[in-house]
Amino acid sequence: MVHGSSTAELADNLATTGAARNRSFWRALLASPSGLIGLFVVGLLIFCAIAAPVIAPYDPLRMAAGPRLDPPSMGYIMGTDDFGRDVFSRILYGARLTLQIGVIAVGISLTCGLLLGLVAGYSSGWTERVLMRLVDVLFSFTEIVIALACLAIFGVGLTNAMIAIGIASIPFYARVTHSVVLVEKGKPYFEAAVAAGAGHARLIFIHLLPNVVPTLIVIGTLGVSTAVLAAAGLSFLGLGAQPPQPEWGFMLSSSRDLISRAPWMMIFPGLAIAVTVLGFNLLGDGIREALDPRQRQR
């Protein structure tokens, strides 16, 4: 009974500490300028993606919604494109695709990279050496070449581009997870768990995984910006989004021949990509600072 109540107290204490830690994390995140700006930009992006049908003045795909190549005005605040489509509405709807790209690509690379890194870091010996050597080799190929190879296999298109980017970033996530696992394995709590006879699954999922997660949250957030950039790049090259999708990289690509006549077609989609990437970069930096107070001194 005594044992039971002390366990309950301990659990209660731990929960309180957890909640306190959460509060202090959010306070630290909101106190850092980069975290605050990042949170605002990412929040705005999510809002635009959700509210696009309500706030977009026109259908993003509707041709001749206005005159062709009309400069920014009260009616079309970001002007119109060569098909008379409203650039502002297309950018709002583009936020949906951008979020989708970020979530899918990072989801693929994070899951696979985490598993690879955990297995390699935990197993040590030959498995680790072979896996990490392979990861190093893939890493040296660079993400764009791996993505091109994937697109050569699957064919072009936005969904394939998201998958390609996800696959291309696996080596990066595997490397980071592996190095965090190596650090955690050397800590006394892990050695104590091994000495206490914890099984493989318990060691990996109860002890290692929760300690890898904070680092992965940081690199995952930063990874969204890389994924958005890469997808926009592939769409710009014509390998990702296809007409008439309102994807920002593709919109930039279609502005190329009209730069001198309609610079707004190039300026606004580019700005949307840059602000989104900046937002996720700042949010990632902010989360890193909030999780690791030593970083705040820098």
Binding site: F141, T142, I144, V145, A152, S225, S255, I259, P263, I273
Partner: protein, 306 residues
């Protein structure tokens, strides 16, 4: 040092070897019949497709195809392209000098701009110079290459008309090199700042200052030399990133390098050319990484003895 060089060369050879396996497997991962995909638009009969399959060795077991590929590779034969039926190696070698010129000039820009900005930010830590340099760097990191390229093109080629829109001479290299270089300068600036801040806090720098050495000697002879070590170690990776970035930038400026060729090959589903490009890219990056690592080991004895 000899052992270090051998280790690095062996690691590069492993990379190239894995690349050969990857490109052989690549064609088998294509859903459907790769021969039909490649030649489908050429009005070929089923008999002709079969003949092509036999010629490419695709009717053989995969391990046999791999050995055939390696055998041809050792003779410098990467096969012929589907479009134009030309030797892949010849096409790559004709286009590579343009990519090399772009990569090296952008690396130079990235080093000069990035390291100066990072050094200045660390030296003026906490001042408006530091804050504005780092704001500039994070904006630079977030800016898509291709958008920066279009903005530079719009400003310098179309509005001011100082530089040509495209072409093949050195003047037309300026805008693509600036685009690729400035984007990577932002990464180097952040790295340099962080490395220099660590160095400025070290005892040996404090001692040098306390001894009363002139500021310039403390900065350039003591701090800068040590601070650049971790930054120089990243140059191999930077080179790989620049080669990757060149793929996009070459397409913005119609620069006739291997990057532009790669995109054309993916569109045309020209698999021999795609395979050749990936292998060529992996080889160049692996060799460049050996050269940079060895040069770095010459500079920092701790590397070659560790």
């Amino acid at each position: 040092m000899g052992k270090f060089i051998v280790q690095r060369v062996l690691a590069a050879l492993v990379t190239i070897w894995i690349a050969t396996i990857a490109v052989t497997i690549l064609i088998h991962l294509v859903p459907g019949d790769p021969v039909r995909i490649m030649y489908g638009s050429f009005q070929t009969t089923p008999e002709e497709l079969e003949a092509i399959r036999v010629r490419l060795g695709l009717d053989q077991p995969i391990w046999q195809q791999y050995f055939m590929y390696i055998g041809r590779l050792l003779q410098g034969d990467l096969g012929n392209s589907i479009v134009g039926d030309q030797p892949v190696l010849d096409i790559l070698l004709t286009r590579f000098p343009a990519t090399l010129a772009l990569t090296i000039s952008s690396l130079a820009i990235a080093i000069v701009v990035g390291m100066s900005l990072g050094f200045l930010a660390a030296y003026k830590r906490g001042t408006w110079v530091d804050v504005s340099s780092m704001v500039l760097a994070i904006v630079g990191v977030s800016m898509p290459h291709f958008w920066l390229g279009l903005l530079l093109l719009f400003l310098f080629a179309l509005q001011l008309q100082w530089l040509p829109v495209a072409g093949g001479d050195w003047r037309s290299l300026i805008l693509p090199a600036m685009t690729l270089g400035l984007a990577n300068a932002a990464v180097l600036a952040r790295l340099t700042r962080s490395a220099m801040i660590d160095i400025f806090d070290q005892d040996f720098v404090r001692t040098a200052r306390a001894k009363g050495l002139p500021k310039s000697i403390v900065l350039y002879r003591h701090a800068l030399r040590s601070g650049l070590v971790p930054v120089v170690s990243m140059l191999g990776l930077q080179f790989a990133y620049l080669m990757g970035g060149a793929i996009v930038v070459e397409n913005v400026f119609a620069w006739n390098g291997v990057g532009r060729l790669a995109i054309e090959a993916v569109f045309a589903r020209d698999y021999p050319l795609i395979q050749g490009f990936i292998l060529f890219f992996a080889t160049i990056v692996a060799l460049a990484s050996v050269v940079i690592d060895v040069a770095y080991a010459f500079l920092d004895p701790r590397i070659r003895y560790s």
